[in-house]
Symmetry: D3
Subunit: 336 residues, 6 copies
């Protein structure tokens, strides 16, 4: 049965050099449109789910192109608002070998950051939905974005819609005068499913591992205690050998139990941006369509791993491809 | 004898699609760094002049790349300041045939717009210079940019340096609360040479042609009357058949006389951005190195025409190439 | 008021060399997805109309990419069927100067050509629509495509939906055993609006101009006589100076009167493929939203002219841009 | 002494995305022409052998381009027939890391598949040749292709020319009504040298390893028993860590003995298509020019390994480069 | 009946920027291999003639690539020598609009310039040929190249083979100590057909128009008088409006009569390099296959005009395409 | 405190194929300008040093572009001479996996090779400098280049400027009649710091390791004995697994002690050209700005390792990036 998922967040223009050039060298930028939460809808749309992404974009060609990038994959864009202003931009320098990748954000004062929260009718938008997803990037952008986020989770809770939040802590955002710990706890308190790691929980909730328990489990337990709605927690654990070689596995604490996926050793990584969003999409998909928590973390982690092989922000993959990766079938083969 | 010219203005990142794509279609953007006043220095540097461009750029890879783009041609960058913030951006959609070219500005709140005028020691910067050039884009950006511009012309006047101003009126700028007519007259009052057309003079100085005289001459006379320092006026006159075919000639009112260049019929225009800046460069160059006013307008107009054949903001041409175009030598030939 | 238009036809993969290379030279092909009827929906979707395109595509990555190319612009794809098989392909060699452009079709036995007409529930699809559009390419492809086309116009007629047909005669199609004159007359008999020129009418209906009347008017009158539903006729008239320079105007016979647009002189043509489809879209749009027949042919022809400036099959333009071209505003200017 | 090798098979247009894009993402396809058997001739031509490839191609620009791609390397094309029809196409999605590569065949009803076997005068073509090579792809395409293949091996046998066959089993071909086991055994019976692995032998000959012997040796012995002409067998054994990292070695059963090459650990694979054909070319080359069976398998395997480093279907390498790889000289160095 | 043509001359690596960039701007160069005389063979090979090009190339990858570029089109390369040394290079800056195109030669001391004339067995090479073609570039390169050219025409004359020479005067060559007038007259004395214009004849033969006769006819008559073998003379006459727009017609003086082709108005020229070689190829082709001198100049000029539409040095066109251009059929149309 | 470094050597045009194509396959070359000694200045300029590169370049567009490539990064170009002639060229084929990279030099008779040593006023150039750097490529090119190099070290010694020499032995150079051992010893005798490995010392100085001491130490001791000025020696030690995977560490013998850096395991190498020059730049930088010899070799080796991740000849990196690599911070991470 098809499920309906609503995601909310900024859609950015991403500019990056080609062939491992440093940003200073680029005479051409690759153009991609994406955003953490929109990426989740893009992936979910490919797995027979109904999705709608909520955002504000500038009423110019770049705003239209961002809409095209979502609608192309079947994401509903009917509630995206076009306003005067600019599109948020980020510049990505793809690392290589020992050189790090880096992001330069140029997203302040975007049309999204200036959104007017009172213009969004969340109850109407969320009506009929099964799931609402937001991430910690949105409340980090501006006071009005944070306000809209809060209104959204409020409405979702009222309508009994499942809520997931990806803490997604980014130090360089949060420039508008509020600290994460002033804003995030309330937002987290509405969530059923929370994505985050040690740094995220510490910076946004002030929670650190206690005792000798597994640190992730320790943190999860504390969060649940504080925010009883929050009962499921997941994250990817990455070991960065260098920019081209990482290993990755997923952890999922749910029902008082810690589930762990296999470890993926990733060589010749093409583009790791969006792998966390692919993980989130996988998690939502399986929580909506499966009863197995192990299957859930397995699928989500394989989706995250698969994303590393695709240029751009979006995971482009069928469910079958992800399932085969879970089972170790056809990994890296030549299929003909 | 080598002359020294100082230019002042913002340097922007320009993004444009390839092969006449509309901006919405672009999957890659060509990357160019330029700005109206910096373009003047780039051209002048190729003709054995010493130049220095004054600007504020962000202290990040895009700021460095902008500096590279000027220094590459020999423009002095020692007085460019690196500050926190963002680079001004503009998106260029190259038109074709009946379709217009269009520019989307994304330059508000750039590091340049936020410059701290008190940080610029104009007397030191201008010391030893022969010419100072600014354009009406700078005072249109922000109050502090306007203030810096005023400080610059003041200092230049004090040091007896020739001053040129390109009115360069852009309706969509001027968003910071002042109207052009509140700001421009004082700035123009310092200029020896003014570039402008009917729209420019009307919008920035409130001056319109009077009587039956040639409208350009009429306006020039009024400006001189009002601002006695301003004794020379020039402009290009363009007939746009379509995006690919224009004709162009130059007019120059100086010493109570109107000088006119030949008309250039331009087919298959490659990139017309920066042709006004090439014109300005040509004018400055000849006013510094020649006594002939006719030669001056001829060289300036040929420089403007030549610019239409080169991708990017910058005129890349030797004096000899411009001179040959003035004389109709080798126009469009295959030289081998 | 938003109108709903349904289009029906094959969506093809178009491959073409870059930079005026001959096909033999190409080491890369530009990839575009489009089709005569789908192109009509793409343009209409940009003008606040609701559209849905009906087609059959292969259930593989190329089929998905074709769907993306339509959905991106907002065309409804919910009734496109995915079947086993191949996508129709055409190779386009862009001409230049005196060299002609040429198309190599590789579309036989495509998933569309093999469509099973009985699988398409036209009454459901057309329910609520205001307009149905087909072209003569579809009945030229295969017997089953012709059959589906007939079923569609039948259903549209039953539901009192306006019908347009673009005769679009292509000599090299019609390989499945039927001649155009065996198939087209019945299809045309259902149409309210017919697009065609001298060659089209002669080859598909066997109708040639009579007497000394304007040849187009003469043909239109004969068609109306034979097929009383067909009351409006339009076409573009092109003068090909060479591959880069054409002139173009539109003719529209409706209400016993011949309406003519201005002539567009097109230099430096970027891509003329799809200009007839842009014309069709303009015609449908104005017939649905305006009462002026002159405005209709003016808008349609400007849409056709504008298409020549855009790479790919699709017209990408706002109504305002087309209206400005009709009025000669901003033609080929630099807007900033 | 120069030897003459004749190869027979389809030449395809290969289309693939750039930079690890998924096929759905591609806005540009790289264009390559190649085919399993033609690739063998391309490699052999670079090693001072005389070659001629036999095929049928469409009489259009794509057919001419395919001929160019072979003739460029010196492959004889004088017996390639140009017929009406289409070129066979395959789309290649290059995998990366854990993502598999995949091929979409679009080759049905190609001009080659429809070849008229009676038009090929094999005795004339093979006259003076030292070797004839075919692969199992040809009899998998169509009945007439299979018939031509049989006529070819018959003629080659009559003329006492050595024959090699690469079983090359592809499940998705064989659509014309015959099973491999109905067609392949007779063709194999004419071969002196057979390339194949476990799957190939099982699917095409119904032969599976017996007893505790080395499975490859076991299969080879059974084949020889059944088809006494077939006395030499070879294959590459590949371990696919992922799409970028494989290890590879060659096995060669000849004169009742199993010869094995060194193992090549391949990182950062550029393009593995055609590595089997490079292996075949190496085998033929050494069987014609050397008496050492160990040298033969060493050279063939190094050729296969080397192919992984080159974009496209063709091995481009000198004998010296292959020999250096066999000896571990200059592997991955910077030679200057 | 197929004819055999032998051409002799250097094959160069041509490097040029993309999209009308100036050479200084280029971050990539397009790579093309060609040469005036080889270009003639490339065109002739496409019209069912047998050709062989004689040259010396370096024994390195660039030499091999140059051979590929000729062999690809079917030009015989069996007599090309591979020697140590460098390939001749030229850099081409494509002009646009009023900006000229320009060539930077970097061809001194190439393997060709250092050829050892005694290594070329002209009688063997020319045996069975119907035509030998050389151009004035070869004797301009080096003393040994001039010597080889003389040996070639000597041998051709002895074997009664028709000889054509394209004077092709390039001021910047002729650096090895001889003046054109010391070398060219003897070479011209062997020619049956001579291509040249006013500058060519004046600089290489010291012949200028006399009296009031048509200047070309006057020069031709003087040449014939001096060199009785030279009975046919042709040239293209070009009017360069700018780099994108030229007009062109051909003149042919033969049998005491002046034949003139139609005038071609060429817009949006893609690449004019090699148009003279296309003209030469057309002339040779028709002189070998037709009796009509008017048909000859018509075909040759259309070939020259057609070349302007194709990137690279080589004319890629069928006889039918050239014939259609002669007849004004399908000029710049869209053929589908 | 800013230091001033002078470097001397040829600047070459580098041409290489894209995407691991073999040179024979390239239809496009990437264009880079660089040279061993100039690369040192480019890196040093990014670390707040003042640099000036001394060279001779052709007075044409390629010479200007080479100057742009240096000036862009702030390298002083005021002493570069423009002379008639050609630019030295090298073609780079990027290897992959088991395939080696290779360089084809085309640099003979370049404007640099023909430099007139008497035109360079070394005392003026070196006045005020802290360091002079040369490499063994220069004396390998031509007698006049060797002579200029000797004049330079002489003048530097006179002015008490520190001197570094990178032996950089290239077998294929040294074609002008002198052997390395006739030229290099005198040049080395002036150096304070020498870069070299076993092959370098053996070929240029005839010195080989003695006894059971560490071979590098043994050689260094012998050199110091022979040339007492030479007191510091360094080199990188590379283990080439294949073209994509190398490991690298640095050794530095100074003050009678051998310092060793950590080992860098480099995967997915982007471009190793210029890594030795980056090492040299790091060494000079730290010898001028630090007292720690361990810090010196650590920084130099990290600079060399970092260079492998950047396309082109030049190291583009901040001091902070190199320092972080030394400390293992952020290696290959995604920084946002």
């Amino acid at each position: 049965m098809s499920k309906k998922i609503i995601t909310f967040g900024e859609v950015l223009l991403r500019l990056s050099g080609q062939h491992h050039e440093r940003l200073q060298q680029a005479s051409v930028f690759d153009v991609v449109y994406g955003g953490s939460e929109a990426n989740v809808s893009v992936a979910l749309s490919q797995w027979s789910n109904t999705t709608s992404h909520i955002s504000v974009l500038p009423d110019n060609d770049l705003g239209y192109a961002a809409i095209h990038a979502l609608r192309k994959f079947g994401v509903g864009v009917e509630s995206i608002q076009l306003q005067p202003g600019r599109i948020g931009i980020y510049l990505l320098e793809n690392g290589a070998s020992v050189r790090a990748s880096k992001v330069i954000y140029d997203r302040y004062d975007s049309a999204f950051a200036k959104l007017d929260s009172s213009n969004i009718n969340w109850e109407e938008i969320l009506n009929g939905a099964d799931w609402f997803h937001w991430s910690g990037i949105t409340p980090a952008i501006s006071a009005s974005a944070a306000k809209a986020c809060l209104a959204a989770v409020n409405a979702a809770r009222k309508l009994n819609i499942k809520i997931s939040g990806d803490i997604n802590y980014r130090r360089v955002l949060w420039q508008y005068g509020k600290s994460p710990q002033e804003v995030m706890p309330e937002l987290i308190s509405y969530c059923d499913v929370v994505i985050g790691g040690k740094t995220d929980f510490e910076n946004c909730l002030g929670i650190v591992p206690q005792g000798e328990e597994d640190p992730f489990v320790s943190v999860c337990k504390q969060v649940t205690k504080q925010f009883p709605a929050a009962k499921m927690f997941a994250n990817t654990v990455r070991d960065t050998i260098d920019a081209s070689e990482n290993s990755l596995y997923g952890i999922f604490y749910a029902g008082n139990k810690l589930y762990t996926s296999q470890v993926y050793n990733l060589h010749d990584i093409v583009d790791r941006i969006g792998s966390g969003d692919a993980f989130m999409a996988g998690l939502i998909h399986k929580l909506l369509h499966s009863n197995s928590l192990q299957e859930t973390i397995d699928f989500a982690t394989a989706a995250a791993a698969f994303k590393h092989t695709i240029p751009g922000d979006a995971l482009i993959a069928t469910q079958e491809e992800i399932n085969q990766l879970v089972q170790g079938i056809n990994v890296g083969k030549l299929l003909r």
